[in-house]
């Protein structure tokens, strides 16, 4: 059990690498940097594989319990003096371990995170070879690996949140890697702050869970949730799950918080591949899948997830149709694919969702790395309108990317086909027209996906060369350090789908079976509990095959074909100034899509307040300005009054002015006091008899006081 017992080393190894870079990075050679950073990730990958293997054997022995390894109590104390009352009034202990948990779900993530991560590290050696801040880049990457692995391996929500924020930080750092570019740092801030909004939701969600279940450890929470004495649709659980989902929306770029992801492409391409395609953005999916027990208790949340997912899918896909920046196309496709995954989760097809994450990680990483290779060979050019006819110039890149495209478009037998088809099928089999609509949205999306992906292929690799000559001159195939990962990923994108060869095609969905300990129990537990039972039961139903399933399969393949065909027709031999079909049909639609439905602008007006409507600034910055004005003029009205009175009196008379200004600390009360001070002093105007008069007046006053008392 070597690996399993030291599972905590998996995240700690990259952390070590990052620390090395932090302390010594500046002083050592690039070679050393790559050795250390890539080395630790390779180690991590090996350990991951070992750990998962050992887990499978261990799990069989311990009837598929998740394996836990608790290092120490991180928050709170074991003595448990920091108690709080749960909703039902029982004492609960505030506690969060630094503890790690391995079960099928986390092992899947563990594998592809370390695996893809490793490949991308290797790829980066070549890609970043000529960049400045080499050590910085790898330090960040390692840090990211640490955070992501913590997120995946955590055994409680708080520790997951650690990773959750950690990956957010790393994406911030890596997006802003070219910090001298304003656009880059803007994008970085946007990413972090939008994620923070999600995290706020996450925190509150956690609190609700703790308040309700008295613990944040998965095992306890899930056990409690499955214990069955929470009825379905419980408002608190609904609230909790919805809030968690807000977090997921932030991290996994769902509507309405997706806006950061496209901008995140400001980062170096390997980063886009690793963080913004393969791993980090799937954290939201992981979290929802992890809390499936809770979500199943909250149908409302499930519906929300499904709807948001579907909408995001089609929304992003539609934008992707017309983008010209090769990375942006991929970015929107990522958002759209994430939408798919949430759709899957939302309809209760957790396994399918996870499976799509798994396959997607390979082909999307591949696509990005390929795009990176293209950009690399095009000496930094990202606009597809200035590419074309690269197929035979950079064959490896072309072939691998083609594989990935076929995969994402859902052409059998490539990976994407299986996962996507599973999702659509699951969506279809839910009863209720709502789900049929969702299915249709997904279906339309599939078509769009095929279209824009092949558009990308054709614009990039076919048609007439549209690049300038010196660029054309420099075009070259990428170095091996980049090529090898591409090839490996290509293999995976081809074959990853076979893990879950659908029964209907004579396979035995091994992937899902593997995940059963995590997802299946609901099926039995909730079988008898009406609606939600069907949510869960879907995966079981799927086993006996029905003709409609074949029909759907055919339809989706057909859609992919149609998309391919349309793209081919429009772009096969695109020359300079080629026409966009959509533009030809209706320019306004085209412009709307090109400008991403003007969402960013709308946000800037409404929420951030970076843009003004006329002279008024709304949003947070608007509030900020308002409150700082308030602070300066109302709360500290003292100062204001001071200035005002000073000005006023200055006009009254110079004499007065000198007295007002004189001395120190012109402060509101002080000023008023000063105003009163002069009468008090003028009272004393130097004449003895006046003094005597005052005395006498006082005397007489005293007497009168008694006369009238």
């Amino acid at each position: 059990m070597l690996f399993l017992d030291h599972i905590y080393l998996i995240p700690l190894l990259p952390a070590f690498g990052a620390a090395m870079m932090f302390f010594f990075g500046r002083r050592v050679q690039k070679a050393t940097v790559s050795a250390v950073c890539v080395g630790v990730v390779v180690l991590a990958f090996i350990m991951a594989c070992g750990a998962v293997l050992q887990y499978t054997t261990w799990a069989d022995a311990n009837h598929h319990q998740p394996y836990q390894k608790i290092l120490y109590t991180w928050l709170g104390t074991e003595t448990g003096h920091f108690n709080f009352l749960t909703k039902d009034g029982s004492q609960a202990v505030f506690q969060a371990d630094a503890g790690f948990l391995l079960d099928p779900l986390s092992s899947i993530w563990l594998l592809f995170v370390t695996g893809v991560g490793m490949l991308i590290h290797i790829y980066s050696i070549g890609y970043m070879g000529h960049e400045g801040g080499y050590y910085r880049f790898f330090g960040y990457l390692n840090l990211f690996m640490f955070a992501m692995l913590t997120l995946v391996l955590a055994n409680n929500y708080v520790l997951m949140f650690v990773g959750w924020e950690g990956v957010g930080l790393c994406s911030y750092l890596l997006i802003g890697f070219y910090f001298h570019r304003k656009s880059a740092s803007d994008a970085a801030n946007k990413a972090f702050i939008v994620n923070r909004i999600g995290d706020a939701g996450f925190i509150l969600g956690m609190f609700f869970i703790a308040w309700y279940f008295g613990s944040l450890r998965y095992t306890n929470v899930i056990a409690a949730a499955r214990s069955g004495h929470f009825q379905i649709g419980d408002p608190i659980i609904t609230a909790a799950t919805l809030l968690l989902f807000v977090g997921a929306c932030g991290k996994s770029a769902q509507l309405p918080l997706y806006v950061w992801l496209p901008d995140a492409m400001e980062g170096p391409t390997p980063v886009s591949a690793l963080i913004h395609a393969a791993t980090m953005v799937t954290a939201g999916v992981y979290m929802v899948a992890r809390s499936n027990a809770l979500f199943l208790l909250a149908p409302t949340s499930m519906k929300t997830v499904a709807i948001v997912g579907a909408l995001t899918a089609i929304f992003a896909a539609s934008i992707g149709l017309v983008q010209n920046d090769i990375k942006r196309v991929l970015a929107y496709s990522t958002v759209s694919q994430l939408g798919y995954m949430f759709l899957a989760l939302g309809v209760g097809a957790f396994a399918a969702g996870v499976f799509h994450v798994f396959t997607h990680s390979f082909f999307k990483a591949l696509l990005f790395l390929g795009a990176g290779a293209v950009i690399h060979s095009m000496s930094g050019e990202q606009d597809m309108r200035n590419m074309g006819d690269l197929a035979h110039r950079i064959p490896i890149t072309y072939r691998t990317m083609l594989v990935a495209t076929l995969a994402i478009a859902g052409i059998p037998p490539f990976a994407g086909f299986f996962s996507k088809d599973e999702i659509l099928w699951q969506a279809w089999t839910r009863e209720g027209t709502a789900y049929h609509i969702l299915w249709f949205i997904g279906y339309a999306t599939a078509l769009m996906t095929a279209f824009y992906m092949f558009r990308l292929i054709y614009l990039t690799f076919f048609g007439k060369p549209r690049m300038s000559h010196e660029v054309e001159h420099h075009i070259h195939e990428c170095p091996h350090s980049m090529a090898v990962p591409l090839l490996i990923l290509a293999v995976c994108s081809l074959s990853a789908g076979w893990l879950s060869w659908p029964p209907s095609l004579g396979g035995s969905a091994r992937f899902e079976k593997f995940l059963d300990p995590v997802f299946a129990p609901e099926a039995q537990v909730l079988q008898e509990e009406g609606k939600a039972a069907q949510l869960a039961a879907g995966e079981r139903e799927a086993e006996h095959t029905s003709p409609s399933e074949y029909l759907l399969m055919f339809l989706s393949v057909a859609a992919a074909g149609v998309g391919w065909f349309m793209a081919r027709r429009s772009y096969e031999n695109a020359d300079k100034g080629f026409t966009e079909p959509i533009q030809a049909i209706s320019p306004p639609v085209y412009n709307t899509l090109l400008n991403k439905y003007y969402v960013d602008e709308a946000y800037d007006y409404a929420f951030t307040g970076r843009r003004k409507i006329g002279d008024v600034r709304l949003g947070v910055m608007g509030l900020g300005e308002a409150s700082s004005w308030f602070d300066a003029n109302v709360v500290d009205g003292a100062v204001n009054a001071a200035g005002w009175i000073t000005r006023l009196t200055a006009t009254i008379s110079k004499w007065w002015d000198t007295w007002i200004i004189d001395g120190v600390g012109v402060n509101g009360p002080a000023i008023l006091a000063r105003m009163l001070s002069y009468p008090a002093r003028l009272f004393e105007w130097g004449l003895v008899q006046w003094y005597a008069l005052v005395m006498t007046a006082g005397l007489v006053g005293f007497v009168f006081y008694y006369v009238y008392h």
Partner: protein, 560 residues
């Protein structure tokens, strides 16, 4: 040593100050060395406290105050004031924070202070003693003396070595804070006489007053008790500062020299929160549990969180920005305090420590740029990370800890506070989560203003030619950050010891508060037989006449 360790810690800086008096003021380097040596010494002598205290915590010793020194009324017997020192977990942490920050900020001002060096170090060391005294005093009178005496050196630090509007800021700081604390003096005197009325003994000993003060609510009725509570509240709220009382803070911070700001933010503000914890809670539990009062204090805290963050978002001056961020962070602390749950309270104390570390560091950071360029205008900078990479890195770490990133200190405190608040079943007629939900946006905004600041100052290319020649941190400057960074990571990664130190005092506190309020019969008894209340006082004309609520109005006329 063990017996007088607190006195030693308390007076080491003062000894340094007195020593400095005899150094000729031309000899600046000698002065700097002595100042720094005593700054460090002040920290070192406080270190033995750590294992000693830890041992006590481990041994599960239940005495509320440890290392108690001096006996009640031994200082001014004729009025019942004593030189009594003692610490519990809460004050222990704050004392350590003070000694640490004191050392750091003295170290940080080596080059920052060029003129009148001698006075500077003298006043600074005096200030150090004053602050430590506030946290150690177990006698209300001693507390008050330190509380006020400490204003003077701070006032001079701001006023002499401050920025352009230093006179204004200094006076404002002094008057503002003093105005609060004089009313507190009256409150203290009231407690003093009430204690005498009940027990027939005149004393300012805090543990003694704990026993009687809560009865005021039943003896004098809610109205009087609330007024009394307010007399303390203003003193502390101004110090914290809570929302409407915060306007002295930006001025003081902006004008103060760097080290001054560090101490101001790191320690002085904590005195307010410490006052709430040490006095307001155990003295006036019923008032605090009263819905309307609780509602207001909670609301003010929430407002402070959001409002402070919003204001700092729009600041053009780095130091002002950090200053307002303190308002926001301290809002979290007060929120945790008034949530009156062990978790919230513990988190609040922890957050105070964190704020001391992070914001202290932030002020150092601003100070370093200011020292090089003599401006704090954000617009003046940009692309600094090109010229000062180490500085940029350290800054990033501290920003992250300040915005509460997990595995750094800020998160632990904020998380505990929020959860502690959230879990309360009912706070002022609203469920706890209602308040927590209002506070959470503060976390988002924190990220917003800090990252935006970071972007504007560090990212981009160097546009301003003046910034091209900036040299990166000197070893000394790095040295000032090292302890803070270490603490930040320690609290972030392994906060358990801190929780263990806090759990006992915090739980006692909450227990007393809820216990006091949980027994209505007390109120009934006292109301039923006020005679019995003032019985011991009957011997004493004074007490007799002034201590029973009914005869008090009669005194106004003065003839009978």
């Amino acid at each position: 040593m063990q017996a007088h360790i607190l006195s030693v810690i308390l007076f080491t800086p003062l000894v340094g100050a007195i020593l400095l008096l005899f150094v000729p003021k031309e000899n600046k380097d000698a002065i700097r060395w002595i100042g720094n040596i005593f700054g460090l010494a002040g920290f070192l002598v406080s270190l033995p406290l750590v294992p000693a205290f830890w041992a006590l915590v481990k041994s599960g010793d239940t005495t509320p105050f440890k290392f108690v020194e001096g006996t009640a009324n031994n200082w001014i017997p004729s009025i019942g004031a004593g030189y009594v020192l003692g610490i519990d977990g809460i004050s222990f942490l704050l004392v350590m924070l003070t000694t640490l920050l004191g050392w750091v900020s003295i170290l940080s001002s080596w080059t920052a202070i060029e003129n009148r060096v001698k006075e500077y170090y003298i006043w600074f060391l005096v200030l150090q003693t004053g602050m430590l005294g506030v946290f150690m005093a177990l006698d209300f009178f001693l507390f008050f003396v330190f509380w006020e005496a400490m204003l003077v050196p701070m006032y001079l630090l701001i006023g002499i070595w401050g920025g352009p509007r230093k006179l204004y800021a200094a006076i404002k700081f002094f008057l503002y804070t003093l105005a609060g604390s004089v009313l507190m003096l009256l409150g203290i005197l009231f407690l003093y006489f009430h204690h005498h009325g009940v027990t027939g003994v005149y004393t300012f000993s805090i543990p003694e007053l704990y026993k009687t003060a809560p009865q005021i609510y039943s003896d004098y009725g809610p109205y009087a008790a609330t007024l009394l509570f307010l007399s303390f509240f203003f003193a502390f709220a101004i110090k914290v500062p809570m929302f409407p009382f915060h306007t002295w803070l930006p001025d003081a911070h902006v004008e103060a020299p760097t080290a001054g700001s560090v101490i101001l933010a790191g320690v002085l503000l904590k005195m307010g929160t410490y006052g709430f914890i040490r006095f307001s809670l155990p003295f006036f539990p019923d008032v605090l549990m009263h819905t309307r009062v609780r509602f207001w204090v909670m609301t003010l805290s929430v407002i402070a969180i959001i409002y402070g963050a919003l204001v700092s978002l729009m600041q053009k001056d780095m130091k002002k920005l950090v200053a307002y961020s303190s308002v926001s962070h301290l809002g979290f602390c007060t929120l945790g305090i008034f949530a009156l749950s062990p978790l919230g309270l513990g988190g609040s104390v922890l957050q105070q420590i964190n704020h001391g570390i992070s914001t202290g560091a932030l002020f150092l950071i601003v100070g370093i740029l200011y020292e090089r360029r003599h401006t704090r205008e954000i617009a003046e900078y940009g692309g600094i990370s090109n010229v000062m990479p180490v500085y940029a890195t350290i800054t990033m770490i501290m920003f992250l800890s300040s915005m509460g990133l997990p595995l750094l200190n800020g998160f632990v405190g904020e998380f505990s506070i929020l959860q502690g608040t959230f879990m309360e079943k009912e706070i002022a007629g609203h469920p706890g989560w209602f308040w927590a939900a209002w506070a959470v946006p503060g976390v988002v905004l924190a990220a917003a203003y800090l990252l935006w600041l970071y972007q504007r100052v560090f990212f981009g290319t160097v546009t301003n030619p003046k910034n091209e020649k900036l040299h990166d941190l000197t070893p000394r400057e790095v040295a000032t950050f090292v302890p803070l960074i270490i603490m930040a990571f320690w609290i972030g990664l392994y906060p358990k010891p801190f929780f263990q130190i806090l759990e006992q005092p915090v739980n006692n506190l909450v227990a007393t508060v809820h216990h006091e309020t949980a027994k209505p019969d007390v109120t009934v008894n006292a109301a039923a037989q006020p005679a019995e209340l003032v019985a011991p006082a009957a011997v004493v004309p004074i007490a007799n006449s002034s201590m029973s609520a009914k005869s008090a109005p009669m005194l106004k006329k003065g003839n009978h």
